[in-house]
Subunit: 205 residues, 2 copies
């Protein structure tokens, strides 16, 4: 199927379905109804059926989905069944937290290089890696088959470093800096933005 | 207006509009078109007009929005013009990164207490605070007018600690643990989930 036909909002829900199905499979569940999946993810069961229908027929009417089959299909669709290598930029407190975040490895995301522009940090260990200077970015990204970048740096440097990552061959960026990035078409950006998340809750308080 | 009439997906976009308007106001911009706002946030201008129409008439046809007026209105709607006090649970690497994340303070979010169940951490400093034992949660949350909790703890403890926070009076939780929380109706939960964000990008790579 052409990937561009699927709305991005659907793609953003698939990882939640995948997480739920993986959890269920690990606990020996064989079948799940769209109602159960819906309750877990916090959408309607109609939404789940509609989302999955972009990719084929996965369930049986009145019976539900086979947990491990649907999990495998979602893994394949999201390319979550292969290894991805990541360049982390920023060896500060956030970089430290990210290198120690074991959930990345569990889902085949490997931080394969760390860069920082602070000469005090370059050469020091961060987790299992040594912090490298920004100048080594191009060579390391190509050598280690890195396709994803994580920005854990202040907002004022984020745009410039993002452009640098893209020039080195990175095609997807997870941006922790509180600024919107403007990048060429075809480059994917996801934003981790705790303030926006907090504000969308304080609306209701 | 009754808050429940506005779709949650609209509420989640308002902080992005607010950030853009604040940025523009700081740089002396007086007026912004819905097309400019749309480009920044990454939605269509029709979407912006529709989102804002839930809350009133903010723009003039063919002229655009008055930047500082719309910013003030969004601040009021999101209650982003008042101070919020936060209890952080988890004094590990992530807790350390969060306490040093200056963007929280800038938007009136104040981490006012840190808790951890590790006796080695209790009593040690984390940023401007001392780590407190879990037993002090109830008293501190009430005393410091805390309404928001941040979970920076492993997945296996998240559900139990979330329930504890809610019992102590917390009404909104920002959850960094990779697990879905099941909490009473009326309690808001937002999930910071970098793996889901990465997976929704690897779909396209």
């Amino acid at each position: 199927m052409p990937k561009t036909n699927v709305p991005d909002v659907v793609i953003r829900r698939l990882p939640l379905y995948l997480r739920c199905l993986t959890y269920m499979a690990e606990r020996g569940h064989k079948v799940v109804s769209s109602a159960e999946l819906a309750k877990w993810v916090g959408v309607s069961s109609a939404q789940i059926r509609k989302d999955l229908s972009f990719f084929g027929e996965f369930g049986k009417q009145g019976w539900g989905y086979e947990v491990s089959y649907l999990r495998d299909q979602l893994q394949r669709i999201l390319q979550a069944d292969r290894d991805w290598f990541i360049a982390l930029v920023g060896a500060g407190a956030l970089g430290h937290a990210l290198i120690n975040y074991r959930t990345f490895e569990r889902w085949h995301f490997h931080i394969a290089a760390v860069f920082d522009n602070d000469p005090q940090k370059v050469g020091t260990p961060l987790g299992h890696l040594l912090v490298q200077p920004m100048e080594e970015m191009r060579h390391t990204i190509q050598e280690r088959n890195i396709q994803i970048g994580i920005l854990a740096i202040p907002a004022e440097h984020a745009q410039q470093v993002a452009e640098q990552l893209v020039e080195c061959g990175v095609r997807a960026i997870l941006n922790y800096a509180p600024i919107n990035l403007s990048l060429p078409p075809g480059i994917r950006v996801a934003h981790i933005d705790p303030v926006s998340s907090l504000q969308s809750m304080t609306f209701y308080l």
